[in-house]
Each structure stands twice: as structure tokens, then as C-alpha cells.
Amino acid sequence: MRPLALTRIMLAATALLSLSAHAQDSLPIGLIQPLTGSVAYNGTAAAHGAELAVKQRNANGGVLGKPVEMITEDGQCSPADSVNAAEKLIQRDEVVALVGAFCSSATSAVMPVAQKYKIPFLTGVSSEASLTEAGNPYFFRSAETDALLGSAFSKLIVDNLGLEKVAYIGVNDDWGRGSVKAFEQELSGHGVETVMTEYFNHGSSDFYTLLTKLRNSGADGVFVAAETQDGSTLVKQLKQFGIDMDVFGVGSWATSDFIDLTGDAAEGIYAAVPYVSNLPGERNERFVKDYTEAYGQAPGKYGAAGYNALNIMMAAIERAGSSDAEAIVDGLKQTDYEAPNGRYRFTAKGQGYGFQAALVQIQNGKTDVVATTAIAAPDAGN
């Protein structure tokens, strides 16, 4: 009796799985972002940006004469869940290209899947340097790596702030550790002494112990790699603690959310970001206006990253003239995309370069762009 019932359940399950979801007259692109879990805040922003890009493109006739259908899946920043999402998008939704996965670990797990199925895969966020070194021909990155951002701004920071001794604080994940390492290397190259390197766990609420060490480290500036939530708590406590040193760092700090959360404590801090909403230029103004209309707040770096990634991918498909993977890969290689924050191109390994990144300082609750510079191709530097 029971085996029979089980057979029935299994057959039903199989039927369910093999349902094909999408309609043939649209062009499906898959997006994997963390929509639940601890990085959902940033993942949602990236998904918003991507959604906007697709909406705009479809309003102008879509790609290859078809509307683009973006299918978003929750990867929760976990490698296994992201692989599940990728398998589902590729097999069931038959997407022609994949964007996303956000966390480098998740992206790293999706990369072999994309390669196996020969699906072009673009990340607009994951910054772990080694990803583009893996030799995956289908993988592209329209984001700065930690090292690229470091080399772009370290000289400027040292000169502007006159730093001699720097303490480094990073969130204890791949991105935080990578950023700290990259900036430390760059700043040491400019003769800056490292007096402290510490990591904290995402979601920590109390930094006083870390700040005690910072106060006693003798640093005259502190580098911080943290996202909105951790960063605002850390910066607030830094000011409460009465530490008066130059604060600079990376993370989504040049956003209204961060400034609202952090309040006065945010005043005067520097952030090196690949994007900030008050970058000059008509292209950016239009993007900011559209994004704000759609989501009620100005875009931050992840909103822009999602927007750019989808635009780059859609342009590449258009250039390819078909949804054939090899053609899209060729299309991606020829990318020359005018983004709100400059021009994107790819190196032979699929690393994006050429776009602008900005050093901003928060003043009077606004983000002042101190300097912008184009991210150079990694090989050009050394």
C-alpha cells in the first residue's frame, strides 16, 4: 500500500519539476541575489537596480525585438542555495544569461554551473580578486576588485589626510578581509605604517572593545570595511567613544540610509565607492531620478551595480544578435557601455575597468565628491 502511495508522490513531484515556466516570446535572463537572510538589504538594492534597467530597456523595445523577462531567484548568499537557483534558472526557465549571486562565495559556487551549461555569467558585485583568475570563459565582472579600488584611491587618501599610521578594521567575511588586505598593501606601498588589523563579525552590535584597542593603537587614521548596518554602528560608537581620527573606508556609506542611520557621527568620514548618487553628469542624474521615482530613495552602490550589470548583459545580447552563448560571450567582450558612473569595458579575463569610482566625504548630511578616478585595468597598473 505505502510503496504505491510513494510512487505516486514521486511521479507528482517529477511532473511538478518538469513544468517549464516561461513563455517563448520573451528573452529570459536570470538574476540571483540574496533576498532573505543577513545581506538581504544589499541584495534587494541590487535587484531593484536590475529591475529598473530591464523596465527601461523593455520600454524601448527590448532586446532582439523581444521584451526581456528577468527572473529573480533568492540565493540567500549561500553557495548551495545559489547553485539550486542557478540550476532552476538554467534548466527550468531556460535563461540565456545569468547575473548575480552577490557574495563571492556564492558566485564562486555558481561559476562552474554556468561553465558546465555554457551560460554567460556576469557579476556586478562580487569583489574577491581570484574569481576572474579562475579562467572561466563565461564569467565576467562589472565591479571593481578590492585591489583596484585600493590602488585607485590610496595615494589620494594618504596625501589628503596626511596619514602616517593607519589601523584597519574589516567585517570578517571575504569582502572585508579582501578590502583590508588590498588597502593595507597599497597604503604600505606609500609608506604608511600599519598599527592594527582587526576583524569583527557581521551583525556585531558592540564595538567598544575594538575601539579601546583602536584608541590605544596610536593610529592617526582608521580604515573601515563595513556595510551599512555594521558601519553605521561602528562609526556612531567611534564618535561616542571620543575617538577623533580620520575615518575612511569602503562599503555602502555614500547613501542616504547610511547617513540617516549614523546621523552626526557620519560627518567628515571618507568613503571610496564605485558609485555615489551625486556623481556629476546628465546620465547619472537621469538614473538617480528614475531610481528615486521607482523606489523612493536615491540609488547606492548596489542599486547602481545591479542596473549596470543588467544593461551590460542586455547590450551584449543585442550585439550578439542571438541568444547563442558563444555569441553573447563575444558580445560581452566587446562591451563599451556608458554607465551613470563612466564607461565599462572588459579585460581578456572578463574584469571590468574604465568606469569611475569616487572618493566622497560626508558633509552636512550630504556626500561631497572629493575626487573621481577611472578604475584601471588590473594589468595596466603593474
Partner: protein
């Protein structure tokens, strides 16, 4: 019970073996692979929850140890997949013996928390021991078997499916032998009544320990498989998310039966994918379903089916209780 369960398992194995031949859809195959992976995990946890009768929330310790062991053996020592997966099981089992020796002294909520503490300690170590585990960057590019180098994606999927099936078959064979042997009976006796167990000569600790180590071994195998299939291992393999999935599978399917966790693994994995249709509502619905199952299917699906079977049998044939399954029933 024993024969029924064995037959059900055999039929399930045959169906599973036919599945890749009947289904060419790679997504369905992938889900099938994940079902088998979770089936091994749920079976291993069930040995502790269902047969020792203690609620472990730290079982991901063994999944994680297995995954890291296989990844490191493959990446650092270049061992092939047929060596890394069994070794992953053995390494997990060794840790299982050490952790079990400490945790199995405790009962109830204390056992729950101390096992959770062990898993968390391991997670934090994995996340910070840069030299060994590459910290939060994790271990990527775990080597695929050489024979897959030129295989088509479909062939590769089939290979992994049968590999997972083989592990599942090994896991269920071991679990079946254990459960229906003197060892399993002793463990069940301890679970049901420690006093009775001791009074017939059973040393409670020894049997809890055997089940615990076997559970750790099987979870280690699952971890080893995970490392090779996903090709990336990070500290999240020790995380609570896997634990929640496993626990829900075991309890929904029905703890203390061999078929229950398999059904649980199938249902929850498929449900999880199915709920993708509901986008943002997905996890909220999942939470509600879990609550609903606790309230309405307190003994899991297998408990529910057994109850129905028993009722059906009790009504027409109460007088003629069949002894077919109990050999030696005649005088």
C-alpha cells in the same frame, strides 16, 4: 515492520535508479541529487533524534567536517573522489566519537544547546583559520572526477546522481543493519526506557555513542559529496540553515523510521523549490508549513500513515492478528 520497511526501501531505490533514465531534464536531476544528499543527511540525523532519542542541533558539525575534509584532501593532497568521500566520513566519525563522549552525558535541552555550541565553535574556527580553511573566502574549485572532463552536462548530472544514490544506498544499508540489529534494538530500548534498558543489561551510553558515531559518519559522507558536487566549501556548511532543513525533514517524515526521513527529504526539497513560485512569500510560507506540521502531524508523515494502517487493520481483523512478520510464532 522490518520487512515492510525493507521492501519500501528497495522499491524506492529501484525508482530512484530509474529516475535519471526516465528524466532528461537536468534541473529535475539536480533536484533529485539534492534530495538524495538530504536523504543521507536526514537519515544520519535520524539515527540520533529517532534512535538515541536526543535532539541534536549540532549535526551540521559533521556535515561541515566532512565537506571541509573532502575539499582539503582533494585540493591539498590531490586525492581522488573515491578516496575523499569515505575519508570524509571517517574523519567525521572520529570527531563524532570525541564530541559524543562529551555531549551524550547530557539530556534534554542541555544536549540541544551543547551540540549547537560545538557546531558553532567549528563554524567560527572554519571562518577564521585562514591557513587551513582559507577563512571566509572558503575553498573553491574542489576537483571534479577526471572522467567528467569531457562529459556533457547531462552525463555529469547522471554521474553525480548515481554517486549520490550509491552513498544513499550505503547510508540506508548501514542504518538498516544497525536499526534492525541488536544494536538498534538496544538504542531503541534506551530511548524508550532507560531503566528497562539497564535492567536487561544494556549500557545506555555505549549505544547512544554507537548511533552517534554512525550518524556522524553518514553526515560526513554527505558532506564529502557536497564538497565535490557544489565545488565550493565555506563556513556556512556548519550553519544553522542546514540544521533547520535536516531537522524539519526528519520530523516531518517521521523520526524513528527509516523511510520517514527519506520522504521528508523528498518533500522538503521539492517544496522548497516549488515555493520559489511565491517569490518573497517563500520563506514565510515555509515557516507556516512547519508550524502546521507540528500541530497537525505530530508524529510526522510516517507516524500518520502507520496510525491509519493500524486503524484499518484493527477494524476488520481485530480477532485475526496476523503474525506473518514474526517468525517462530508457532509453538
Amino acid at each position: 515492520m522490518m520487512i515492510l520497511e525493507r521492501n519500501t526501501l528497495l522499491i524506492m531505490a529501484v525508482l530512484a535508479a530509474l529516475f535519471p533514465l526516465l528524466v532528461g531534464n537536468q534541473y529535475a536531476l539536480h533536484i533529485g541529487i539534492m534530495v538524495l544528499f538530504y536523504a543521507v543527511l536526514a537519515t544520519s540525523l535520524n539515527l540520533i533524534v529517532g534512535y538515541v532519542g536526543e535532539f541534536s542541533l549540532g549535526h551540521t558539525a559533521f556535515l561541515g567536517l566532512g565537506a571541509y575534509a573532502a575539499a582539503l584532501l582533494s585540493l591539498r593532497m590531490g586525492l581522488p573522489i573515491w578516496a575523499t568521500i569515505p575519508l570524509a566520513g571517517v574523519i567525521s566519525a572520529l570527531f563524532g566519537a570525541a564530541i559524543g563522549a562529551i555531549t551524550l552525558r547530557l539530556r534534554g535541552p542541555y544536549f540541544v544547546i551543547i551540540t549547537l555550541a560545538f557546531a558553532e565553535v567549528l563554524r567560527i574556527i572554519a571562518n577564521n583559520w585562514m591557513g587551513l580553511t582559507n577563512g571566509p573566502m572558503g575553498l573553491s574549485g574542489v576537483v571534479q572526477p577526471a572522467l567528467l572532463a569531457d562529459a556533457s552536462p547531462l552525463a555529469a548530472k547522471r554521474f553525480y546522481f548515481y554517486l549520490a544514490l550509491a552513498i544513499a544506498v550505503v547510508a540506508l544499508y548501514l542504518a538498516y543493519r544497525f536499526v534492525y540489529s541488536n544494536n538498534g534494538r538496544a538504542a531503541v530500548t534506551v530511548r524508550e526506557n532507560r531503566y528497562v534498558a539497564q535492567s536487561v543489561g544494556i549500557q545506555p551510553f555505549a549505544y547512544a555513542m554507537r548511533a552517534f558515531v554512525l550518524g556522524a559518519f553518514l553526515a560526513g559522507l554527505a558532506g564529502g559529496f557536497y564538497a565535490h558536487y557544489i565545488t565550493f566549501v565555506g563556513a556556512n556548511v556548519f550553519g544553522f540553515a542546514f540544521m533547520v532543513s535536516m531537522i524539519i525533514m526528519v520530523l516531518i517524515g517521521g523520526k524513528g523510521t527509516l523511510v520517514g526521513p527519506l520522504v521528508g527529504a523528498l518533500l522538503i526539497t521539492v517544496l522548497n523549490e516549488y515555493l520559489r513560485e511565491f517569490q518573497e512569500l517563500r520563506m514565510s510560507l515555509f515557516g507556516l508549513i512547519v508550524i502546521g506540521v507540528v500541530l497537525f502531524l505530530p508524529n510526522g508523515l510516517m507516524g500518520f500513515l502507520n496510525l491509519r494502517r493500524e486503524r484499518r487493520r484493527a477494524t476488520p481483523a481485530a480477532a485475526a492478528e496476523s503474525h506473518a512478520e514474526a517468525p517462530g510464532g508457532s509453538a
